[in-house]
Amino acid sequence: MPPARGHTRRTFVPMNSAVTISHLHKHYASVHALQGVDFSIARGEFFGLLGPNGAGKSTLINIMAGLTRADAGHVSILGHDVIRHYREARGALGVVPQELLYDPFFTVREVLRLQSGYFGRGRENAAWLDELLATLSLSDKADTSIHALSGGMKRRVLIALALVHKPQVLVLDEPTAGVDTELRRMLWEFTRRLHREGVTVVLTTHYLAEAETLCDRIAILDHGRLAALDSKTALLQRYPYRMLCLSVSDPAPALPPALLPLLVMRDAQQIKLRLHKQDDSIAGVLDALRDAGFSITDLYTQEPGLEEVFLQITATPVLSGDAA
């Protein structure tokens, strides 16, 4: 396999790096899908790769998996370049694709055996395949054609296929899209178990609450660039606001003019204000409301979630490639 175009820079791959992405560029016709993306994922991380539609997440994953060729830059998996050392890189990587792909000719057990064989595994891998079938509750469907399975079952087969060769890095591309609650919970329990056993997990999802719950570190891609890369805690701290939610007696008077810029929502008995963590004092706001004649019956604060951070980052101009 030839090196990617623009193969001129020597890339430093840290010893403990599971995935190293260096100066990655990819064009589709006039669209610059990846614009110098540059970051690494440490071994053993549960890593979130987020971004709006068209941000370049799938392109990045496809380049990691060798399904797409980069125009310039490098990706390595456990130190193995995905082009020059593609066998080692692919052997270390498992990918659960976003779409429900399958070969209609074969049963579940047959495709697992075939996939295991493609990775050079023989009969010695049979016990692991049985374990995968059992863990993913597929044992009773093992001899069923994939064509005849439900969407949730097909999703489980895709996960099993990604794990036949016991990869050290697992990429899950939108694994819970269109999946019911039970399967989602089962899927995350299983992924957590793999992570505890030392597998590096890279997750893309549109369910930001999932990323917030599961991931240690998160990268946000936007318009083909790295807009943010930080630990979950640090990312959440980037959002300098909290919500103050109040229940008031009906009918409530008009809001004092000084509080109007903070107003997010108001109806007959509910008021939601957005307070800057440093500049706005909760006590001051409550005093102003009482002075204006409000009778407050209940209140609570709401800390920002990843969704607020995500929206703030993707709504503002992106940072340069080296920002993170």
Partner: protein, 259 residues
């Protein structure tokens, strides 16, 4: 360290076996139908022409026809195996499972083309054996017959692979199969000797690579042919090398396979 093109033999054999298993799961369609179709041709042409046509001196028309029908079956089925399997995998997306695996472009090529050669050989052998019930057939050079059948399977397997790499839809593949492959296989001396054609058609027929595969095979079976068997072998080998090189070049670049 650079990855060696043959360092995953088990992976290559698994892909080869998957391609074989795939056609064995639908043997009525992939093996039985082409054999029955060839026998129907044989039945009809034997009844109509056996008493009226003698292409080579001392050889009946049915005996002349059988090697051509065998090779036509080899050619069409080897092409169909690689082309239909790869285009299906591309269109339904299941090719991704092969592309994610640590297989080299050479291993990919050998697995797909090897399965096509096997299907071609099985169908060809089926037609040949069934046709023995219609007439006494000599077998002048068994090893030559097997070699030409395998080479034809290789050439058409590689052509099918190449076509499926380049095609984006079933429609494009079907057009090529119905307007190029089938006419070339029919107009390649299966049913007649090109020496019986008018000069223009004779010259055009000699540009048809399928003619040499069939003529070489016919020589191996009957001991007589339109052109020297060495020429047929050389041209068939040349096409095999050319198409294989084209497949390997495109597979290595990932053209229309790895976006």
């Amino acid at each position: 360290m650079t990855s060696h093109p043959f360092s995953n033999p088990r992976g290559m054999f698994t892909l080869f076996w998957k391609e074989v298993w795939r056609f064995l799961k639908v043997t009525v369609q992939t093996l039985l139908t082409p054999i029955v179709l060839s026998l129907l041709y044989l039945l009809v042409f034997k009844q109509v022409l056996e008493e009226h046509v003698e292409v080579y001196s001392g050889i009946g028309y049915t005996a002349f026809l059988i090697p051509g029908l065998v090779m036509m079956a080899v050619i069409q089925n080897a092409f169909a195996n690689t082309s239909s399997s790869l285009i299906q995998a591309k269109v339904n997306g299941s090719l991704v499972f092969v592309l994610l695996a640590p297989l080299s472009s050479v291993e990919f090529y050998l697995a797909y083309v090897g399965a096509a050669m096997l299907r071609g050989l099985l169908v060809g052998a089926g037609v040949y054996l069934a046709a023995l019930g219609f007439t006494d057939l000599p077998l002048a050079h068994l090893s030559g017959a097997i070699m030409f059948a395998l080479l034809a399977g290789l050439v058409l397997g590689a052509l099918g692979l190449l076509t499926a790499i380049l095609a984006d839809t079933y429609e494009q593949l079907s057009a090529l199969q119905n307007f190029i492959i089938v006419p070339l296989s029919f107009l390649s001396g299966v049913f007649y000797s090109i020496h019986d054609l008018p000069p223009l058609w004779h010259d055009i027929s000699r540009l048809n690579p399928f003619f040499y595969m069939i003529d070489g095979f016919r020589y191996s079976v009957l001991g007589v042919s339109d052109v020297a068997p060495a020429l047929s072998l050389g041209i068939t080998l040349g096409f095999a090398a050319l198409l294989s090189a084209a497949c390997l070049f495109l597979l290595k670049r990932g053209y229309k396979i790895r976006a």
